[in-house]
Symmetry: D2
Subunit: 335 residues, 4 copies
């Protein structure tokens, strides 16, 4: 951490501040006097140093981290890729490509079982389906809740596909015990109490990037889960909010290689939410695979116009079949 002090700070104050840093944190402080300003360099385990505390000092002009503020999620401390085993055959982050597919919301047994069978035939290896739905409007369909989870389990039994579903509050953690991957939605990426509780669970968590989260904030949210002892975090890029409103969000394709460089965690991409338009799913999915994603999460509905949520971005099973073939073909050709 590099701290630039304000011009003409009295030497005694610099000494006091330096002493305080050494006693509060496990760091050493190097000092370098320029003509106009003095610069301090902190050496040691600076990821616990509170940058806001430093910045609040009267004598501080600006402060810059050299080391990232996350440690468990940081590739520097864990050079090897983390591969997360969902079943014997399904490992996310081991170099293979996994497609998680299914409807935005679980609506009925028939619906979820049919879609599960269909996407499995097309090459999907995991089933997604929302039971608890975060909706902007209190008047919109909010999901089948615990019944939705039960129906997902039926579909898993019928097809063997592991299931992924979104959690919305800490009190529901027990209810998700039998779900294979617990999803944290974009709007809850900084629901820190929820993250902390998920750190105590022994189950993979799919952590969606917040609507306007920086990559660093996203990795800090992963750090929350990992700090609690749960290392099984899968990151999910799902588009960010920008000024461009032709699409619902703007897929940040650069996030894939950046996360791969900064962290050892696997990263999957959600082209359905990123665009909000079904005809954009294929080109965005292709781009994600070409850029190095470990997986995709794609919305598929047997009857998009009658879907109870997010129909505009859902593919029909036939469309998904075509997209999956192109995606898997691309992955094959890149080996």
């Amino acid at each position: 951490m590099i701290i630039v002090l304000k011009p003409s700070t009295p030497p005694e104050q610099i000494q006091l501040f330096t002493d305080k840093l050494c006693s509060d944190y496990d760091v050493k402080v190097n000092r370098w006097d320029g003509i106009h300003s003095t610069v301090l360099g902190l050496i040691g385990d600076t990821h616990t140093v509170d940058i806001e505390y430093i910045d609040a000092q009267d004598i501080v002009e600006s402060v810059k981290r050299v080391q990232e503020p996350y440690k468990k999620a940081n590739r520097k401390f864990h050079p090897d890729n983390t591969a997360i085993k969902i079943t014997e055959d399904i490992v996310i982050g081991d170099g293979s490509l996994h497609i998680i597919a299914g409807p935005c919301s679980v609506e009925s047994e028939k619906q979820i079982v049919e879609i599960a069978r269909s996407v499995k035939n097309s090459g999907a290896t995991l089933l997604r389906g929302g039971a608890f739905k975060p909706r902007t409007s209190p008047y919109a369909f909010q999901g089948l809740k615990s019944e939705g989870l039960d129906l997902l389990k039926i579909a898993r039994k019928e097809t063997g596909l592991p299931i992924v579903s979104e959690i919305m509050r800490t009190e529901h953690i027990d209810m998700f015990e039998n779900v294979d991957i617990i999803q944290v939605g974009a709007r809850n990426m900084q629901n820190f109490d929820l993250l902390r509780e998920l750190g105590r669970v022994d189950k993979p968590v799919l952590l969606k990037r917040g609507l306007s989260a920086t990559i660093e904030e996203w990795l800090m949210s992963a750090e929350y889960i990992m700090a609690g002892g749960n290392d099984n975090v899968i990151l999910c890029e799902r588009g960010i909010r920008t000024y461009e409103n032709y699409t619902r969000n703007t897929l940040d394709i650069s996030a894939i290689p950046i996360v791969k460089k900064l962290s050892h965690l696997p990263v999957v991409v959600d082209p359905s939410h990123a665009s909000g338009k079904s005809w954009l799913v294929e080109p965005l999915a292709m781009a994600a695979v070409a850029a190095g994603a470990d997986g995709l999460i794609i919305e598929v509905h047997n009857d998009p116009p009658h879907a109870l949520s997010d129909g505009a971005q859902s593919l029909t099973p036939a469309q998904f079949d075509k997209v999956a073939k192109r995606i898997l073909g691309l992955k094959e050709s890149m080996k």
Copy 2:
């Protein structure tokens, strides 16, 4: 709601769609045939119509709301300003200006009582203080929790100032029974489960705008609380995320008159979080009052460099005294 259909949609499909709209919702459908395209107009109570459902139809080119999707928060249906009574003397939204002041985090009895006395002397009418703190890093100070709430109550007893504090999870609602205004932070603006539970409480809620929430989404979150039966919502503009990174956030000053036009709810402004820099608090607070805000929420700490959170944006009591005088003078001159 205006629905533009795709060119050359067959008349039978238009009829089927029209029938379905009339049976699903309490609306009438008008139809108007152009040369290239057909336009449908929905009349009636369209705020419950799911715009995503409409947009997902194969035959739909685009859809546009004429009516806002919120109703209880909408000035069209409630022309008069909502004034929220906190105590006999303190009413937010009645044309007066209230300053909510206090530290980011409650740290000790001495700290909170001293600050409370000081800000009261300077003209503040409510006391803020964080007991549960949402922090980006799991390694940063997370607040004194229930002990912090107890200390706030001591400060209220000493000074008579009503207290405002942030809630982070539904399980804590009981703990906040004795708090005068419950704050929902920016990161929880779309924690819909929390909003829904707060709708069942008979207590004012200060709803901060999300980091990248549109004004419509913000009002929809107010609608969540109001839909549950709690009409006492105070909106708080606290800066939005933009590309400009000189400030922590960008204060959206336009939000004040816009919210006043679209809604009947009171709006307060947080210049401390909006800028992240203490020297910007005064000009931004002045601007907010000039633009019509009902109140301000300002961070004050007796020792900002040693504050356990957000020190860089906190004023000292002496600085606050000067700012409060200018703000209250401006308000007086605008009468």
Copy 3:
């Protein structure tokens, strides 16, 4: 164009407004009366209708385009892809993939000829090089100017590669007569006088997307050039400005399929400027090809640390060789 009028607008005013629309523009107006509001629909050639004029009417609540405001750049009126012939062998937009490579700035004959030879060997089919450089600082290197153009022509003579270079003002158009593709930079995307003059030239124009331009604004800038009679416009996505500052810009990968749907013009991608980091060029270039780009424009410098501009995002010839092989291999596998 759909115009929603304010509630309770008097019928006479509606009539007056309707008459005015019919006399000012080549349109018919349909009217539809709802319970609360009246909606007008304009039929005919609405792309010349000034939406701001409509929006300024006292009686207008809101207005929505059904037809896009651009015509010559619009795929609806030109369903076939535009393929732009640079030489007998090099056609951009015909389904092939072209790599434009070269240094940010032309620095010397030796530099540009060496790089040209090298990138040609690696598979590039066009040579880029800046002679006039738009720099944020007046104290930074501003390019070799006309001498730079002369050096590019020498490199073309040596290698046969057509050349691409950026223009910065209308007075220079004559100087670019012998350049194969004239580039308009992101900062000049809405320099309308320059666009208009380029409409009078019979030469391909590479139009970069502005830093915060919407896709519609970008196509409107293409329309400026085309309205003057020059149909040879190549669009170039180079990243947009967002809140995320890990990268210099955020590559909007979705822009590729969207432009392909809305327009018949070819689109190329600049992964070097989009990221500002040389190690991101490969994954972003791969993603662009997978998403359907017609070409790539990549910065290559024989000695990036000593480049006079943009060194951080330049590849060495050896790095470029590796990247080009992967890109061309991917394109081959997608056939």
Copy 4:
């Protein structure tokens, strides 16, 4: 300037790099060796150092400026406010408040003279009017051009109000000789050739902030003009592009105090373009004055619905009269 080197950079390379920095620039280099990394500090006149060049070095991990990259526009080197004399009585930046008012476009002699008389009566001290109009669509009204400038001069003769008008290309500079303040529009804020030419002119320049320009980029554009010898630059905040689309742009109210701190140049605010809605002009203008603006630039049209451009954001003379009274009253009360 602080340069963090990559871990385990060989000492010889550090020495070579250090030597090069000292020979290329007028700086001294201090070196500080940490456990993991080495940090270099540059002392001296670093505002000419090309940060991209530094960042491109293989051995560089990251680089941070301590000193701003602008010098002539920097308050550190010019502590006193710059006051720009337009006439004997009108000085912008001397603590007084000036209102520049007038139509978006000059349309006829009658129109501009009438508006000029009216706004003068209401308290405006300068007249604005567009002769050359930057329009997104090539099919929209582009201004009366040189005739528009002639009409502005007639209005000045009739009222005594100095005139402000926008320039769009370098070739027109002679035509603007008799204009009192030359405006550079947001879309040309980084038209560096235009800025450079305006540096050779002895006339005040009103420099609008670009749609997505950072404050630093904006000050660098002022530096371009000042580097040429023209110190008479007035900055104009006119809203920035964000994700919020209720308003045309988002007024960055914080920019006023920030520019005042970083620079000695005067700053005026354009609430008309910032919002795009006439009913928002008053509250935003009030906020700007409260935050410390030196002036306002407001669109006034005698017949907004028939204005040839930007009617939706124009006030009528009667509305302007009311707004001007409130603004001037607020300024008076703040003395």
